[in-house]
């Protein structure tokens, strides 16, 4: 028995060096798969840790956060809060927080926004004791001398093309305010990095300038030292006891948990997609390693002749894979770290667009990341090597090989019934309920399980689908030598054929499923937008995105617009975040008098007639699907809404589709919301024009009068809304392209292996009088046959996976019912393109191979 290190030294290392290109390719593929997964993991973590980084980085981590849904905490409550905490040594930080952007952005389609934090700078300067930072750095005294002063990060100054001393007009809540850049924020305070998208100003001057009398929140910080735990608990108790519903007491951890839970579904789906990319990469690795087996077949056969057993051959091959896995894991770690700098940006941009604002936490690697990279690299390599190692072990001794004894195909692929069982098990797994990870958030375990079982099971079932194809081809084309030969090889597929088919099946299945999902999404969203966007114009604060619940337009501004020439009426929307039990949801206000006339909702159920409203309900409302799922609501239920003045019973009169958010929303009549929460500022408004009014002219005049507002025409808003959804699928599109490229690359590898293994057969074909063109044509038909079988079975798999994605995974993750829309045109185009490419690639593979090939002695 050869010791492993001897085998590595005499065989593995020499082959790796000789075929350095193939070795490098193998390592790069696996490293990329590991790196992609790792970079998305780091990006997800970075985005989540960025929640709440804005104030934490300045004032240090707070122990309690006081807030009040609706208008916030009135400024004049601060003395009461101080009184409640006396004589505890607590520092109180009132906070104002707004998203701001330049009134004249360089790129209007992609405005650069920063989060403006208003803090008590004097208190900050006095030293919170929790973060070091010299007064010189922040230049606080200079800032306090002038109400327009603001501090920006260096990155923001560069992006906005301003410098210290410059004046810049910023849009805040739909209004334009001039600011003077007084200083530059440092990159960090102590150990805590400051987010790049942060601006700082004094809270007193901001409240004055913005004419506000309430705070977004009040943060309480207690000093370090012995007995701190007791101190924090005591402070929390006092705040709770003295609140009398005037404020809610929360912890920063809870805020982060809520934000983390909110984005969990999106981040999990992204992780799953990256795992699928890794799976596709593993298939390519398997084909590459399989090609290595065919290339070293004679060597293996000679080893067998010399007395090395199949078991030892298997051991050698797996040990080589282990070495590759270790190298790929290390490379993947480096690649993941590098790629994370790009994916962090993409993930946080999408989270900001769909959920809420977050800062970009610096990319960093942890020990867990390292361990995971190694596990994926080694695990992936060993999984990919398993079948090729078995194939290598089944090599007969050299004498038998010379006589043309055929290598038996993989035993696993000869039992399609295993695949059938897995497919059936997958169907049963769909019945599994989702796993609730936190209140209101669940993981679609059944959906993911079914998808995995169908992917693997489908591969085993489809492995033999080339046989009937070969038989059909033989019958249809009985008189062409190239076709007959190709058909006969398809009818008796080797493990190489089956592995190539498996790669195609997985790639096509994945691409088709994602196309199906995206197409269904697009159809549903378009239908929903058509239903919801009926006004001619829409208004919001400049730079507003869907996740911005704190960027609002003052009611007075909208009142003025309502009396504007050409304007018939203005419908306004406002939402307030509340905690219902342990589920975070929103209560939204919309003019119900317009529903069914100028406005409408996309109904899932209802609406019920008003005369059916029970007497115990104070009012009625319409819940979105997400709220219905999370709180188990049904049509006709009565539901208590928490308000500052106590719970209010609301009758659920209808259930509607809402694709703008994946948290729960209950719509009530706007006057009711205003009454409950005392609000008079709005996130978005729909402007309906008089008959005959020119939308473009009204838009222009409104923009001139209100430069801090974004006024969009119906078509523009539709386009913007759809582009946001396309953005969320950017990763999906990239993975589709990667998957198809991998499948075609795998086909080339498999064909080269097949040609290599067929040296004697090629010599025979040449001896029998087949020309190079005919042999290349035979190769082309064989390759296209593999692709066709993979395409047909892959499309079937894609259809099934797509339905699971739409009806199960998506529904259980986000609570959205989607209309199914199969993209026939796209699929036909995909199919046609794949077949054409497969034919061309296979033909040229055969043609070029024969150019370099030397006939073996027969």
């Amino acid at each position: 028995m050869i010791p492993l290190h001897q085998f590595w030294r005499r065989f593995s290392w020499r082959h790796a060096r000789k075929e350095w290109l193939q070795t490098s390719l193998l390592l790069v593929i696996l490293a990329l798969g590991v790196g992609t997964f790792l970079s998305i993991r780091i990006a997800n973590r970075s985005a989540v840790e960025g929640f709440g980084l804005f104030t934490r980085s300045l004032s240090g981590p707070s122990d309690w956060i006081l807030s009040q849904p609706g208008n916030g905490i009135p400024v004049d409550r601060l003395p009461e809060i101080r009184l409640a905490l006396d004589p505890l040594p607590a520092r109180i930080y009132p906070v104002l927080e707004r998203l701001v952007l330049p009134a004249h952005p360089g790129n209007p389609d992609k405005p650069s926004r920063v989060r403006l934090i208003g803090l008590d700078l004097v208190q900050l300067l006095a030293g919170s004791g929790t973060a070091s930072g010299s007064a010189d750095e922040l230049d606080i005294w200079q800032v306090l001398q002038e109400p327009r002063h603001i501090l920006l990060s260096k990155a923001t100054q560069t992006e906005w093309e301003v410098a210290v001393g410059n004046t810049i007009d910023l849009v805040v809540d739909g209004r334009v305010f001039p600011f003077v850049v007084k200083g530059t924020l440092p990159e960090s305070r102590g150990d805590t990095p400051l987010p790049e998208n942060l601006a700082l100003a004094d809270i007193g001057t901001l409240l004055n300038r913005f004419q506000l009398d309430s705070l977004d929140r009040v943060e309480i910080v207690l000093p370090e030292g012995p007995g701190r735990k007791t101190l924090v608990a005591e402070a929390g108790r006092r705040l709770q006891d003295s609140s009398h519903d005037r404020w809610t007491v929360g912890s920063p951890g809870q805020d982060k948990i809520d934000a983390t839970s909110m984005t969990a579904a999106f981040r999990l789906n992204l992780t799953v997609l990256s795992l699928i990319a890794l799976l596709v990469g593993i298939y390519l690795i398997a084909q590459t390693l399989d090609a290595t087996v065919s290339r070293r077949r004679k060597e293996i056969a000679t080893l067998r002749s010399l007395g090395i057993s199949p078991r030892e051959i298997y051991r050698f091959w797996m040990s080589e894979a282990l070495l590759y896995g270790i190298a790929a894991g290390l490379l993947g770690l480096a690649a993941g770290y590098g790629m994370a700098w790009f994916t962090v940006d993409a993930v946080t941009t999408t989270i900001r667009a769909l959920y809420r604002d977050t800062a970009v936490e610096a990319v960093r690697l942890t020990l867990a990341d390292g361990a995971l990279a190694m596990a994926l690299g080694v695990g992936g390599s060993l999984v990919a090597a398993w079948l090729p190692a078995r194939d290598a072990a089944s090599t007969p001794p050299a004498q038998l090989l010379r006589m043309g004894k055929r290598i038996p195909p993989f035993a696993l692929f000869q039992h399609p019934w295993i695949g059938v069982l897995m497919v059936v098990a997958g169907a049963l797994a769909l019945q599994l309920p989702s796993w609730e990870t936190s209140p209101g958030h669940s993981v679609p375990v059944g959906g993911y399980t079914a998808s995995l079982l169908w992917l693997v099971g489908g591969t085993l079932v489809a492995a033999n689908s080339m046989k009937p194809l070969g038989r059909i081809l033989r019958k249809v084309f009985p008189s062409r030598a190239s076709l007959r030969l190709a058909a006969s090889r398809l009818a008796a597929p080797t493990s190489r054929h089956q592995l190539a088919l498996a790669g195609f099946l997985v790639s096509i299945g994945m691409a088709a499923a994602m196309s199906f999902m995206v197409s269904s999404f697009e159809t549903t969203i378009t239908r929903w937008l058509d239903q919801r966007l009926r006004a001619e114009l829409f208004a919001s604060s400049l730079g507003f995105q869907g996740s911005d619940h704190d960027q609002r337009v003052q009611g007075e501004i909208l009142d003025r617009i309502e009396h504007w020439p050409g304007v018939r009426l203005v419908d306004r929307f406002r939402s307030v975040e509340v905690d219902i039990g342990s589920v975070q949801a929103s209560i939204g206000g919309l003019r119900f008098d317009l529903i069914g006339k100028d406005q409408d909702l996309l109904w899932i159920k209802g609406p019920l007639p008003m005369d059916e409203m029970p007497p115990e309900a104070e009012t009625f409302g319409y819940a979105n699907e997400n709220l219905q799922t999370r709180l188990n609501l049904e049509l006709g239920d009565i539901f208590d809404v928490p308000t500052p003045s106590g719970p209010r019973p609301v009758w659920i009169a209808g259930l509607h589709a809402d694709y703008a958010r994946d948290n729960g929303l209950l719509l009530v009549d706007l006057p009711v919301l205003k009454d409950w929460f005392g609000v008079n500022d709005y996130e978005t408004s729909a402007i309906f024009l008089e008959k005959g009014a020119d939308p473009a002219a009204v838009q222009a005049s409104l923009k001139e009068e209100f430069p801090g507002l974004a006024i969009r025409q119906n078509g523009q808003l539709m386009k913007t809304a759809l582009s946001i959804f396309n953005q969320t699928f950017a990763v999906t599109y990239a993975l589709q392209v990667i998957g198809l490229t991998v499948a075609l690359g795998g086909l080339v590898l498999s064909l080269v292996s097949l040609l290599r293994e067929s040296g004697r057969e090629l010599a025979l074909q040449r001896t029998l009088g087949m020309g190079r063109l005919e042999i290349a044509l035979s190769t082309a038909i064989e390759g296209t046959g593999i692709a066709l079988a993979g395409l047909l079975t892959g499309l079937l798999l894609g259809l099934s996976l797509g339905l699971v994605l739409i009806r199960v995974i998506n529904y259980q993750s986000f609570g959205w019912t989607l209309q199914t829309a199969y993209p026939w045109a796209e699929v036909c185009f995909l199919g046609g393109s794949v077949l054409l490419l497969a034919f061309l690639i296979s033909f040229f593979t055969g043609w070029l191979y024969l150019r370099k090939w030397s006939p073996e002695a027969l």
Binding site: R402, M403, G404, R406, P478, S479, R480, A481, R484, L485, S488, R489, A491, A492, R760, E761, L764, R766, T767, L768, G769, M770, G771, R772, E774, P855, A857, L858
Partner: protein
């Protein structure tokens, strides 16, 4: 298919043919003439260049010196396309290890050269059935090569070689992998069928009994071909 030149000249003529692989000269100044329908054996030890000689005659290798004339054409000057065409039906081969196409059934292996010749289905069918009958494999028409014995496989290879009525059959150790009984049977068939189809035969062998079916035996040593006594 034409079985020989019209003017009665030699079917195959080699003049001063030489072939080297690197510094080693495998064939040295080969002179050979084979007439239509003639059966010639070439005997010699392993490594003497016999298989290389057959490869050059089949157009699979190009000699470095000399000339190979077949049916009046200089093979050394023909392009790959023309040589391929010759191998399709005019020059065929039988090998020691049979070399059947493993994914084709027995009858399909025999039929394959006719597919290359673009013959009609009806005609192909008739010829295949006839030849399978001739080699005694009519009942094994549907079998896969992996299901056949060595003797059966070689008879099948013989049928494939003769299906196009070739002018010349090149046989490289056709009985080398067979036991004596099967070898004898194959030799009998080779002799009878080449005579029946009026094909010339160039047989390379170690076996003097195999050589016995030929009218002329040549000897090859270290790349040099020499005459042995003619056999009546």
């Amino acid at each position: 298919m034409q079985n020989g030149p019209d003017d009665g000249g030699p079917l195959l003529e080699l003049e001063g043919v030489g072939k080297s692989y690197g510094p080693q000269q495998i064939l040295k100044g080969i002179q050979l003439r084979v007439m239509s329908g003639e059966r010639v054996a070439i005997m010699g030890p392993s490594g003497s260049g016999k298989s290389t000689l057959l490869s050059c005659i089949a157009g699979l290798e190009t000699p470095d010196q000399g000339r190979i004339s077949f049916m009046g054409q200089d093979l050394t000057r023909l392009g790959e396309a023309r040589l391929t065409e010759l191998r399709r039906g005019t020059i065929s081969s039988v090998f020691q290890f049979f070399h059947l196409l493993p994914t084709l059934r027995a009858w399909e292996n025999v039929e394959f050269p006719l597919l290359l010749a673009r013959m009609s289905q009806a005609e192909r069918r008739e010829r295949v059935d006839h030849l399978l009958e001739e080699v005694g494999l009519a009942r094994r028409a549907q079998a896969w090569p992996s299901e056949m014995s060595g003797g059966e496989m070689q008879r099948l290879a013989l049928a494939r070689a003769l299906i196009t009525n070739p002018a010349l059959v090149l046989a490289d150790e056709p009985t080398g992998s067979l036991d004596s009984r099967n070898g004898e049977r194959v030799l009998d068939m080779l002799s009878q069928l080449t005579r029946q189809h009026r094909s010339a035969l160039l047989l390379v062998t170690h076996d003097s009994q195999a050589a016995g079916i030929c009218s002329r035996i040549l000897h090859m040593t270290d790349g040099i071909l020499s005459e042995q006594q003619a056999v009546e």
